[in-house]
Symmetry: C2
Subunit: 234 residues, 2 copies
C-alpha cells in the first residue's frame, strides 16, 4: 500500500518541529516547506534545514518577497520588537506588532498548493493556543474555514479527495508542546524560536519568553540553550 | 473623506484588466499585484506593467518560485498545451492540464495579505463563468469560503472590518466581459491572454479560442490583434 503523504509548514521552531515529528509518527511521508519572507530571524531557516536533514525529510525552501510584510516588526528591523510581560502576551484584542499581515493564510495556501500538486492527503501546521488569542491567523475558526475553501479550490477537493488541514498543537500549552517534542524525540536542540536576528536567543522577546516558560513549566532545560552553553564551553 | 481602497489581482489579461477598470470605476483607489510564477506566458507581465502605467495604478510585481507548479502545462514548457474544441473547454469534471495547483488560492491569499497590510476594504479578482466549470479555483463557492477564512485570519477581520472579496466578472460570458471592458474604456489593446510564450497570440490554445469567440460574439474586433496587425504594417 502506498504510504500517506503530508505537507508540513516548517519554520525550524519548537512548534513546527514538534508538528513535523508528530506527522512522521502518524505515518505520513512528509514534504516540509520553509519560507524566507524577510523575517529578522531568518536564522530559523538554517535550523529548518538542519532539522530536515537530520530527519531525512525533503525541504522546499521558498523565498517570498512581499514588500507589504514590512508593516510588521517581525520583518521591519527599523521597528522595535515588543517586550511585554508574559501575562500580557496573547491577550484577545491585542494583536502584537509582530503580526505579519495574512502570513499564515499565505503559508497555508502555499501548503495546499504543494499538497494538490503532490497528491498529499494532509497539510500540517503548528499554530497553538498560546498564540491564537493574540494572532488572528492562529485561531481554530480560521483553519476550519480555510480547509473548506481549499476543498473547493483544489483539484484534489474537486475530485472528492479533500485535503485535511491538521493542527495537532492548537490546543496545547507551550509546556505540553515541549513535552510532546521530547516524547517524540524531536531534535529540539536544533530549533530556533527567537524573533531577534542575533547569534543566540535574546531571551527578551515574546517568543523567547513563551518558550522559556514552556520548558520551565514542563520541568526540563531547553535543549537548544543547553547546546549553546556547551558549544560556548560553559 | 478618505477614498476606499482595493487590491486587484492583475495578470494583464482581458479579464483582470476589465476587473481593474471596474474597480476604478467603482471609486476604489487600486493597488494591483501581478505574479511571475514561471508561467510560459510571462509576456503577460509586460502587459500588466504597461496597463498599470497607463492607468496610473501602483503595481506590485511578485516573483513566486514554487517548483511544484511545474506539474502544470501552463508552467512546464516540456508539457503540451491542450488544444481542444471550444465546446469541450471548461466542461465540469474535466480539469485541464493548464490548471496550476492551488494557484488562485495562493494569489488570493497574497491579495488578502496586502489588503490587510494596506488597510484596503476589498480584494478584486477576475475569475469568470467560462473558466469555473473547468478550473476548481474559479468557482464562486471557493471564493465565498475563502472570504470567510480571510475574515478570521486577518487583522482587519479580527477588528470587525471584514475585507470584501469581489469577483465582478464571475457570472459573465467572455462576450459580456469584452463588452464591459470596451464600455469602461479599458486599454484592451495592451492586454495579453495567450497561454503560449510567443511574440504574438498563437490563436490555438484554450485562452486564445475563448477570447476570440468572446470578441466575435460581442460583435467587434479584438483591439490587441488589431494593434499587432497595425504594428506589422498590415
Amino acid at each position: 500500500m502506498k504510504r500517506k503523504k503530508a505537507v508540513v509548514l516548517f519554520s525550524g521552531g519548537l512548534d513546527s518541529t514538534t508538528a513535523l515529528c508528530w506527522a512522521l509518527a502518524e505515518g505520513y511521508d512528509c514534504l516540509a516547506v520553509s519560507f524566507d519572507y524577510g523575517q529578522r530571524h531568518s536564522r530559523e531557516n538554517a535550523s529548518a534545514r538542519a532539522i530536515a536533514r537530520r530527519l531525512g525529510v525533503k525541504l522546499y525552501e521558498i523565498k517570498l518577497d512581499f514588500p507589504w510584510f514590512r508593516t510588521s516588526s517581525l520583518v521591519n528591523a527599523g521597528m522595535k520588537l515588543p517586550q511585554v510581560s508574559l501575562s500580557k502576551i496573547g491577550r484577545p484584542g491585542n494583536i502584537p506588532s509582530t503580526y505579519v499581515p495574512g502570513r499564515n493564510l499565505v503559508f497555508a495556501a502555499a501548503g495546499f498548493s504543494l499538497a494538490d500538486s503532490a497528491g498529499a492527503q494532509a497539510v500540517v501546521l503548528g499554530p497553538n493556543v498560546v498564540d491564537y488569542s493574540g494572532y488572528p491567523d492562529c485561531r481554530p475558526e480560521f483553519y476550519r474555514a480555510l480547509a473548506k475553501a481549499a476543498a473547493y479550490g483544489t483539484r484534489s477537493g474537486a475530485d472528492g479527495k479533500k485535503i485535511k488541514l491538521l493542527t495537532p498543537l492548537i490546543k496545547l500549552s507551550k509546556a505540553e508542546i515541549a513535552r510532546l517534542g521530547v516524547k517524540l524525540k524531536a531534535p529540539l536542540e536544533l530549533t530556533w524560536s527567537c524573533y531577534g536576528g542575533g547569534k543566540k536567543p535574546c531571551g527578551r522577546c515574546d517568543s523567547c519568553k513563551l518558550r522559556a516558560k514552556g520548558f520551565s513549566d514542563a520541568g526540563f532545560a531547553d535543549p537548544a540553550l543547553a547546546g549553546l552553553e556547551k558549544r560556548a564551553g560553559l
